[in-house]
């Protein structure tokens, strides 16, 4: 089965700024793919290219085996999009906006809409101008999830939602992925959300994919923190590959070690003799912070 989304070498310039600098992204059919990166990294630009709203300067993009620019209308029948900042028509009620977007996409499932309104606790009779940011976001989410589509493009969809609603959002994404087999591209900053939902993630920075893979693959890129009380002197530890930030105070050593170099380091520790040992597992936060930082060179 072809990938739901694949891009190769996407480049997009706005004046002198390089929004995308040779971006490669592959989203396999049926997966929930996390799309992460600091603000201004090019996530929204990528999604707009995938929607055929913006045209890439060079590179190729395929969405559901079609060209997002020239086949836009046909493709849009098969996908739904939730922008990060939803603006609605002030005089239309939420229900009207949901039905309008659903119908223009080719139809909306009434029962599913009612169920989602209930679950997201949204009053569809209110005029859009009376909605808070979170409620406007819910309108776009209900319209997207109630449509019968193969692919969902969600651009920071939970911004403005309260924790309860975020929970509902997670349940719904899991449902459409597991039960209906839909593909989801989820751009997000919320790591717990990504961890709970995504099969694979791509991290972009400055318009380029810096990392892509499953979360457990990415975990290997992180470091484990070790604190140990040793019997003997800490000879030879500093020379081992993968050991960082080694320091000693009061007979305790602290250091970080690359997760895939952990075995030789542990062997050396036991040779010296260990009185006590604390090891902290790699955290995703740490990984992301490291990858987000501009000076990091992979």
């Amino acid at each position: 089965m072809p990938a739901a989304i694949s891009t190769e070498g996407l480049v997009k310039r706005f004046g002198r700024t390089n929004a995308l600098d040779s971006l490669d992204l592959t989203v396999r059919t049926g997966e929930v793919h996390g799309f992460l990166g600091p603000n201004g990294a090019g996530k929204t630009t990528t999604i707009r290219i995938l929607l055929g709203m913006t045209r890439a300067d060079s590179g190729t993009a395929r969405v559901l085996d079609g060209d997002p620019w020239s086949d836009a209308t046909e493709l849009h029948r098969r996908l739904a999009y939730v922008p990060g900042d939803v603006t609605l028509w002030p005089n239309l009620s939420g229900g009207e906006a949901i039905d309008l977007l659903g119908r223009m996409r080719g139809g909306i499932d009434k029962l599913r809409k009612a169920e989602l309104l209930e679950r997201f606790d949204l009053d569809p009779r209110k005029k859009a101008r009376a909605y808070s940011k979170g409620n406007r976001q819910k309108v776009a989410l209900v319209a997207a999830f109630a449509s019968d589509v193969e692919l969902l493009l969600l651009d920071e969809p939970t911004s403005g939602l309260d924790p309860l609603m975020e929970e509902v959002f997670r349940e719904v994404v899991q449902e459409v992925s597991d039960r209906d087999g839909r593909t989801v591209l989820l751009s997000s900053h919320i790591l717990s959300e990504v961890e709970a939902l995504c099969d694979r993630v791509t991290i972009i920075r400055a318009g380029r994919a810096v990392e892509s893979g499953t979360l457990s693959e990415l975990r290997h890129l992180t470091r484990t923190s070790i604190q140990a009380e040793l019997v003997g002197p800490m000879d030879g530890l500093a020379q081992l590959a993968g050991v960082h930030d080694l320091r000693e105070d009061d007979g305790r050593v602290r250091f970080d070690v690359d997760t895939d170099e952990i075995n030789p380091v542990l062997r050396r520790l036991t040779e010296i003799g260990v009185r006590s040992l604390v090891s902290q597992p790699p955290s995703l936060e740490e990984l992301f912070l490291r990858l987000y930082e501009p000076e990091t060179v992979k």
């Binding site: 929607l51 046909e74 603006t87 949901i98 039905d99 569809p124 776009a140």
Partner: protein, 529 residues
């Protein structure tokens, strides 16, 4: 005074945002007013010619009664439309910097900084009041520099500035009433329109010894006008306007205290839980119908007004060649009344082009607000999306012009006892304006398609055409200047002869330019901020 904290900073913000628009309208209105002194002094040098020019029923309806035959009085009378424009700009400025800020949420962003409860309103009002004051001072010196007496020049400055202040206060009250800036604008413009209609009806009735002359006393526009600059200079009427302004401001403040930021006093009603809209066209109808209805009603009223006065104007023009000449220059033809009606039709067509551009720019507003994005992410193509709005910028003016033509035909036909003969002629004359209107629509589509950030330049189209129309009606103008305006190439109807070539040329230009604009729109990135 804690509630006014931050006003100074907000004033600077407003001045920064309006640094072009604000000086532009001040200078433009002062320049127009001052230039009228020489222009009309030359055109109507004798008291007799002035009285005759000013005594026609149509002009009394438009500008009111002439107070005396001195040049100052005559020019003040002829400038009767300027205070209305000042009132309009003032109320729009106040709403733009109060309710629009709240509706877009920018007010909230600022509200969290050290900004008092009334600071936003105070800043908007102070800037608008200041602008009117500057306009008044410039006008007083400008008029005086043309050789008019100083006292009268100060009086006309007060007339204009007080009208601006009063309607700024009207805008301030309207901004408190509803959560929607559009509705607030509608309310305030309604008050302005109401004041204008009261004055027009009262003055016309008084002129014909009708029973409704007292209506004028209800209209703040009439109060300002009855300051009678260069005649009695009745200062106390300026004071009356100022008192009314202060009273309105007090109302605005009381209302502001009683509502939440972002909320209005008139509550939002709940809408339906399920929608019936299901296509781009249905959405566009929903977005455009209010505008269409308002313009159609306005055009019908305009038609009634012009149709109603046409016969009287014809009687009057019979003995004044200079007025005949003016209407002929405006596009009129041989028959006296027909030349008046044709001149009026050109005016109506020019106004319709403003509506056409406004409707076209809705497209761009949908894009910049972010509302186009979710629509274009559905199976709606850009062609369909653009077409759904263009239906209204092309056919909306047609409906409005039709209303004007029908109303004018009915009113004039009733006056001369020939409704069945006049109505079709005038409907045809009104609809004959469309090719020129559509050229301006096409130009604004091209601007939105190729240089979206300059979309507001689209307003230059109707503005230039109106300017050419006004100038060439007053003084003889070089042909190449007149030829710039597509309206120059329209047949002068009713009465004139129709040749197909210019109409076909205009339509062809509209189609080619408009289509090119749509191609540009299809090929560019969306949205462009």
């Amino acid at each position: 005074m804690k509630s006014l904290a931050g006003t100074r900073g907000l004033i600077r913000l407003i001045l920064r945002r309006d640094r072009i628009v604000l000086p532009l309208w001040i200078v433009l209105l002062v320049a127009i007013s001052v230039s009228y002194v020489k222009q009309y002094g030359d055109l109507f040098p004798t008291p007799e010619s002035r009285t005759k020019y000013a005594s026609n029923a149509g002009f009394i309806t438009l500008y009111g009664e002439l107070s005396g035959t001195s040049l100052g009085e005559f020019v003040t009378w002829r400038l009767g439309f300027v205070p209305v424009m000042i009132g309009l700009i003032s109320l729009l400025t106040v709403i733009r910097h109060t309710r629009v800020e709240e509706e877009t949420g920018r007010r909230e962003l600022l509200g969290a900084t050290v900004i008092g409860r009334h600071a936003q309103l105070a800043a908007a009002l102070l800037v608008t009041f200041g602008a009117n004051l500057v306009l008044g001072v410039l006008l007083a010196f400008g008029m005086h520099s043309q050789g008019l007496p100083m006292a009268g020049s100060i009086a006309i400055a007060l007339e204009f500035a007080c009208t601006g202040w009063f309607f700024a206060a009207v805008g301030a009250v309207a901004a408190q009433l509803t959560a929607s800036a559009g509705t607030a604008r509608g309310i305030a413009i309604g008050v302005l329109g109401g004041a204008y209609v009261l004055r027009a009806a009262g003055d016309t009735s008084a002129r014909t010894d009708g029973p409704l002359g007292w209506l004028s006393y209800l209209s703040p526009i009439a109060w300002a006008q009855r300051i009678r600059p260069y005649a009695e200079n009745r200062w106390w009427l300026a004071i009356l306007l100022l008192v009314a302004t202060v009273a309105l401001l007090a109302v605005a403040v009381v209302l502001a205290v009683r509502r939440d930021v972002g909320g209005g006093l008139l509550p939002d009603r709940l809408g339906p839980a399920d929608g019936t809209l299901g296509s781009p066209l249905a959405l566009a109808w929903r977005l455009h119908r209010g505008l269409l209805a308002a313009w159609t009603v306005g055009f019908a009223l305009l038609g009634l007004l012009f149709g109603g006065v046409a016969k009287g104007v014809g009687d009057l023009m019979r003995d004044d060649p200079s007025i005949q000449e003016m209407f002929q220059r405006m596009g009129g033809s041989v028959g006296l009344i027909d030349s008046f009606l044709a001149g009026v039709m050109t005016l109506v067509g020019l106004i319709a082009s403003a509506y056409a551009v406004q409707a076209t720019l809705r497209l761009r507003a949908e894009e910049t607000s972010g509302r186009a994005e979710p629509v274009l992410a559905t199976a709606t193509s850009r062609w369909q999306w653009a077409a759904s709005h263009l239906v209204f910028s092309l056919l909306g003016p047609a409906v409005a012009l039709l209303a004007a033509g029908v109303a004018e035909g009915l009113a004039y036909g009733a006056a001369i006892g020939d409704v069945s003969g006049q109505a079709p002629r005038l409907v045809g004359a009104a609809l004959a304006q469309l090719p020129a209107v559509w050229v301006l629509v096409a130009i604004s589509i091209a601007i939105v398609g190729f240089v979206p950030r300059l979309s507001m330049v689209s307003w230059a189209g109707p503005a230039i055409c109106i300017l050419i129309g006004l100038v060439s009606a007053g003084v003889a103008t070089a042909d190449w200047v007149r030829d710039i305006s597509p309206f120059t190439h329209l047949p002068s109807l009713p009465g004139g002869s129709v040749s197909a070539a210019p109409l076909i040329t205009l339509l062809a230009i509209a189609v080619v330019v408009g289509f090119a604009g749509l191609v540009g729109l299809r090929r560019r990135d969306m949205p462009v901020g």
